[in-house]
């Protein structure tokens, strides 16, 4: 990332004349948010004017908006002036030099997840170059993609190198003023991913944030934009099963997907942010806006998510089924243990003719956690022959947790065919005793039952990811029983 230090310094100093900001070299802005901070972020990223203007419009709209209170989550009020909106990654000097300096508890978890040794260092934030060289992998990867004409880069690079694409599609699915957190993200987003798959191209590999350079630098306000041009296909994997430690408590990401005529996007997420300790202290607040626009006829967008982390999850990956015959899918496993709170689900907006959507949501609650499914199926008057199938299952482990279901349906076309099935079940003492009597330990029995419960969703994940997700679930629910 190229920056112009003098420029930033002058901007920042305009506002913070009082001298308390002395170490601009640390590459972080002081806490607080106003127009100058938005300008500083944009300047630091060397953005064109239109990008800055876009951010400023978002910021002004955000000022007039209020934080939503309808979600089934509780947390102390967030002071948005207490947050620092730009922090570059730690320099190598601040990082652990080797795995010996990393928290043994974290390493233990990596071990349980079966993460390859050479990957552990990267995940734990060890100065990467000191440990292993990823250049060869990345280069092969990049060569293959450019051969196919696929653009896959950081959002900042996209603004610099493909401004016409970014300007055309940015905010076209999630407008700046869509909601409080989306507006905030639009004003101050740090970085993220950009993908463009040209007409008729089937992306030759699964794209993963894992391989993207600077993946660790995206920070708390991540912005992702994926455009699949006519007749193209792409599968995108976000996140990682390994627990990621982050100093930032508030995360507000925005993901926009655009599928043009005959295109298909498959977006898979495994989210495992720090959920706080077993007493509910610490943990990430995750307020995410994810939306896909099936803009062209016969297009398809499929969301698959496994959510195990964060203290609070507020997330509703949605599909706008605009094109005729378009298809939207949402497969979700949300786990909440200890004091975690999850309010997650989806929105399927049927606009085109003959559109169909499928929702399969599996919520698992353990400890004192609260897990809510919130979903909207909306069929517009012109959406003839729309079909939706919703299946919403909750699994409770223990006596102190809760599961909640809030299904909303707005059907404005009498020909729509909408089905909703919901179940709530418990892992019973008798089930566990039965398994134990067959020689299976209690922990293995819980894992077996939970994995059985989630099978339909895991089947939707790319193979390798599914194996990791399963291991992750086992670790997340460790000690949930007994």
């Amino acid at each position: 990332m190229s920056t112009e230090p003098e420029n930033i310094e002058s901007l920042v100093n305009q506002r913070y004349k009082h001298g308390f900001i002395t170490d601009i070299e640390t590459d972080a802005l002081p806490p607080g948010l106003d127009e100058d901070v938005v300008r500083a972020i944009s300047a630091r990223k060397n953005e064109p004017d239109w990008m800055l203007e876009w951010r400023l419009r978002a910021y002004r709209q955000w000022l007039a908006m209020r934080e939503p209170e309808w979600a089934h989550v509780h947390y102390p009020p967030i002071d948005y002036q207490e947050i620092s909106y730009f922090a570059a990654p730690k320099s190598d000097a601040d990082r652990p030099k080797s795995l010996d300096e990393v928290d043994p508890k974290l390493l233990e978890t990596y071990d349980k997840l079966g993460i390859p040794l050479h990957e552990r260092a990267r995940l734990a934030g060890v100065a990467v170059d000191a440990v292993f060289d990823s250049v060869s992998v990345t280069t092969t990867f990049k060569d293959k993609l450019s051969e196919a004409g696929v653009i896959f880069c950081s959002f900042s690079e996209a603004v610099e190198n493909h401004p016409e694409l970014v300007e055309k599609y940015l905010g076209s699915v999630v407008p700046q003023r869509d909601n409080f957190f989306a507006a905030l993200n639009s004003a101050v987003f740090s970085d993220g991913s950009f993908v463009y798959v040209p007409k008729g191209v089937r992306c030759p590999m699964e794209l993963s944030t894992y391989f993207r350079i600077n993946a660790a630098n995206t920070g708390q306000f991540e912005r992702t934009l994926i455009v699949a041009d006519e007749g193209s296909y792409v599968s995108y994997l976000e996140g990682c099963t390994a627990p990621m430690r982050d100093e930032n408590q508030l995360h507000a990401a925005v993901v926009e997907l655009v599928a043009l005529k005959d295109a298909e996007i498959k977006y898979s997420t495994v989210q495992n942010w720090y959920p706080g300790d077993e007493n509910g202290k610490g943990g990430i607040y995750n307020f995410v806006t994810k939306r896909g626009d099936c803009r062209g006829a016969n297009s398809k967008i499929s969301w698959t998510q496994v959510e195990t982390g964060s203290a609070i999850t507020w997330k509703y990956p949605s599909c706008i089924l605009r094109g005729d015959n378009s298809t939207g899918e949402f497969y979700s496993v949300a786990v909440a243990n200890n004091f975690q709170q999850a309010d997650t689900g989806t929105k399927m907006i049927h606009i085109g003719r003959n559109t169909s959507s499928t929702i399969v949501s599996k919520g698992i609650s353990a400890g004192k956690a609260q897990n809510a499914y919130r979903g909207l199926v909306k069929v517009m008057p012109q959406a003839h022959d729309a079909r939706n199938y919703t299946q919403c299952d909750s699994l409770l482990i223990g006596k102190e947790c809760g599961a909640h279901t809030f299904p909303y349906m707005e059907i404005k076309n009498p020909g729509a065919h909408v089905e909703h099935e919901a179940t709530t079940s418990k892992i019973s003492a008798n089930q566990l005793f039965y398994c134990r009597q067959r020689g299976i330990s209690e922990e293995d029995a819980v894992n077996m039952i939970v994995n059985g419960f989630c099978k339909e969703v895991f089947n939707e994940l790319p193979m390798e990811f599914a194996v990791e997700a399963q291991a992750l679930l086992n670790v997340s629910l460790e000690g949930a029983v007994g």
Binding site: Y434, Q437, G439, I440, K455
Partner: protein
């Protein structure tokens, strides 16, 4: 093999077993009979280690070790099998998966390698054919939507796969039609061997027409009121349980 001495156990405040003693040796088949509420099922659950039952006195030894010290899964791996009266449904968990996990837990305990997938399938098919079970049961959820008879056959299948040293079958015959009863009995008889003991907990004589016991015990008020050979079962069938109570009371 199994030595129960003066076993007293309760659930909540209700004492159900009151000083029960029973010895079972390898190679033997014992039938435990008795009226409803006499403690038959409790005995089975206590030996298996169900947490709802509290042992307040007495001892249970299995192969010379104190069974009450062990967790339920450890007892199972040591060779104690309980065929449940009401096998529980575990939706979404594949029957084959549970079976394989159980077989492997036992093998690991013995220091053996995990069973090979092909070997496992071959063994499972063999046992299922013997029990007259359709192979599609393997891919269904554990007991999910099974009929009463199917659940009981499934218990016997698990027993056949795990080859326990001590098998306690709790009312495995109840609610079975004659074909299922014969299949279950066939499964039990196939397992009879000089180094294995079988305890049949049953309400009726019916099963004993097909699996001939070496000993029959009658439970009453939480202890063994009377023991004998198979003729005792026939007598119970003819005269009901009341005479046992009267005999004890006298």
């Amino acid at each position: 093999m199994l030595r129960i001495q003066n076993l007293t156990a309760r659930i909540g405040d209700t004492e159900i077993l009151s000083g029960l003693s029973l010895s079972v040796e390898a190679g033997e088949v014992h039938a435990i009979m008795g009226p409803n509420g006499s403690g038959k099922s409790t005995l089975a659950q206590v030996v298996a280690g169900h947490a709802d039952y509290e042992v307040t006195a007495g001892s249970v030894e299995f192969k010379g070790q104190d069974l009450l010290e062990l967790e339920p899964e450890e007892r199972a791996r040591e060779g104690v099998f309980l065929g449940f009266q009401y096998p529980v449904e575990i939706p979404g968990v594949n029957n084959a998966y549970l079976l394989k996990a159980a077989v492997n837990a036992k093998r690991e305990h013995r220091g053996q390698d995990e069973i090979d997938a092909f070997e496992f399938m071959k063994l499972a098919r063999e046992k299922m054919a013997m029990l007259g079970m359709d192979q599609k049961f393997l891919s269904r959820g554990v007991n999910e939507g099974f009929s009463g008879g199917e659940k009981k056959r499934n218990e016997i299948l698990q027993m056949a796969m795990l080859e326990p040293e001590l098998a306690i079958l709790d009312e495995t015959d109840s609610g079975l039609d004659i074909d299922a009863l014969k299949a279950v009995a066939g499964g039990v008889n196939a397992l009879r061997s000089p180094d294995r003991a079988i305890v049949l907990v049953t309400h009726y004589q019916r099963l004993l027409d097909y699996v001939e016991p070496d000993f029959v015990h009658v439970l009453s008020d939480g202890r063994i009121a009377r023991s004998g050979d198979k003729t005792l079962a026939l007598k119970l069938e003819a005269q009901g349980y009341d005479w046992v109570k009267e005999a004890v009371g006298a």
